[in-house]
């Protein structure tokens, strides 16, 4: 299988890029893929904390691109999955410590050993963003159902297209079905209408994400987590399986729930 470099980006901060990277990376590793997650948020690294691997960091991405160490020395092997690795960002430097050219070389080097290279992009559209997308084949855009997030996602998709990444996929994060039904929140159709790119998944708002993030255990490891389930679906869809989007998980009405049970039984 040809390896793929996917950048996870959003423009707006706090919509769940890092959470998505961590969960998607873990979910792909659960499917037996060899995955490396690259944290490119130099100066504000988080992915290591979310993965619970912070205390293993010795070398970081800046050390690698500057040739202070070999890639293998800087890669942190996940404690749960053999095929999952993390290349952490540097915390004491800034975005200018890496150039897009260096990032491209780095991702090409990683292609030799991994099926998936997930690049966690920093918020914003400056140098950090340019670095993160420079080695990518495709982009995954994360947006929450808010006007501001969708606006920024739209801007990002435009920038991605200008950079030659025209096959971006969308993940809608933190959707609250009850609010959508009441008409208080943008629904999936509204968002797709504006962004007009392929939908890769819908992740419901879920308190287990907060718990798992704080504990350093991605939610996909938790069978009862609805968000984790959504991310597992995204991973399978990335691998080419036909999986329904299934946004209607939070069904409050009995008929819907019954229908769902029937569907499951089939």
């Amino acid at each position: 299988m040809k390896s793929r470099v996917l950048v996870i980006t959003s423009g707006k901060g706090g919509v769940g890029k890092t959470t998505t990277t961590a969960n998607l990376g873990t979910a792909l590793a659960m499917q037996g893929k060899k995955v490396v997650m690259l944290d490119t948020d130099i100066g504000l690294r988080n992915l290591d904390v979310v993965m619970g691997l912070e205390n293993r960091i010795v070398f970081d991405i800046v050390d690698v691109v500057n040739g202070n160490c070999k890639i293998k020395q800087a890669l942190i092997r996940d404690k749960r999955f053999e095929g999952l690795c993390l290349l952490p960002a540097a915390q004491t430097k800034d975005k200018s410590a890496v150039t897009p050219h260096q990032m491209k070389n780095l991702t090409n080097e990683l292609r030799k050993d991994f099926d998936f290279i997930l690049v966690d992009c920093p918020a914003g559209i400056e140098q950090g963003f340019k670095n993160a997308i420079s080695g990518a084949d495709d982009a995954i855009v994360v947006a929450t159902p808010e006007v501001s997030s969708v606006r920024d996602a739209d801007r990002i998709i435009g920038l991605l297209e200008a950079a030659g990444l025209s096959n971006s996929k969308l993940i809608i994060n933190r959707l609250r079905n009850k609010m959508v039904k009441r008409g208080d929140m943008m629904d999936i159709e509204d968002i797709l209408d504006i962004l007009s790119i392929d939908l890769l998944g819908v992740v419901p708002e879920d308190e287990t994400i907060v718990v798992s993030t704080n504990r350093g255990e991605p939610a996909v490891l938790e069978n009862s987590s609805r968000a984790g389930e959504a991310y597992r679906r995204v991973a399978r869809r990335l691998l080419g399986e036909e999986v329904p989007i299934n946004a209607q998980e939070d069904t409050s009405n009995l008929v819907d729930r019954f229908k769902k049970m029937l569907k499951l039984a089939r």
Partner: protein
């Protein structure tokens, strides 16, 4: 603001321009003001001071160095285009800096936050906390009069006898000389006593700090 970043990159060089001020008192005030304005994440970096054509005595230079250290920065160089006399001072000062770096203990009176990194060739005493993501690196010993939750590297130049002590020792990672350790996975043990880490029989061990 007269703080210049000379060469953006890995080794960012900071230069504080004090050429516009005449009296030493003004220069000091301006230096303080500049240091306050510098982003926190640059803390621990080396700073050069440009005094233009003014002559600076050795004592005054020391004073400015102390101001830098108080703010968590290191003195790098004095830029002084005051002909031969000035150059002479630079060389004197370089020697001072080296002696200070090799033998002296540096006192940092502040909390170190994520992304801040401090290096000293000698010992390091921190009156405050070291938060996760912050790095304290010393050629000698490290004493944290507060909680050490970040990374500490003692004996960074190879001294295996170096120790790390803290009132609350719960680091993300401890390094002594070329040994690297991290706390075990799973439940963290909360110890409310001062503790000390050192190398014994080739391993980093943590014990109660007996005073």
């Amino acid at each position: 603001m007269s703080v210049e970043i000379m060469a953006a990159g890995v080794d960012t060089e900071l230069v504080i321009d004090l050429t516009a001020w005449d009296s030493f008192a003004d220069m000091k005030a301006e230096l303080e003001k500049n240091l306050h304005a510098i982003d926190n994440y640059l803390m621990g970096s080396f700073i050069s001071i440009d005094v233009g054509s003014k002559s600076i005595s050795e004592r005054q230079l020391r004073e400015m160095e102390d101001i830098l250290l108080d703010h968590g920065f290191h003195f790098k160089d004095l830029i002084n285009n005051h002909s031969a006399q000035g150059q002479n001072r630079i060389s004197i000062n370089k020697n001072n800096a080296e002696i200070l770096d090799s033998a002296d203990t540096v006192l940092i009176c502040r909390n170190l936050r994520s992304g801040q990194k401090i290096f000293n060739k000698g010992n390091m005493v921190i009156l405050g906390d070291v938060n996760p993501g912050a790095e304290v690196i010393a050629g000698g010993n490290i004493l944290v009069m507060g909680a050490l939750r970040g990374l500490a590297h003692a004996g960074a130049l190879g001294d295996e006898k170096a120790i790390i002590a803290a009132f609350r020792l719960s680091p993300t990672q401890l390094r002594i000389a070329n040994h690297i350790t991290r706390p075990p996975d799973g439940e963290s043990i909360v110890v409310n006593n001062p503790e000390l880490a050192k190398i014994r029989a080739g391993k980093v061990v943590i014990e109660k700090l007996k005073i």
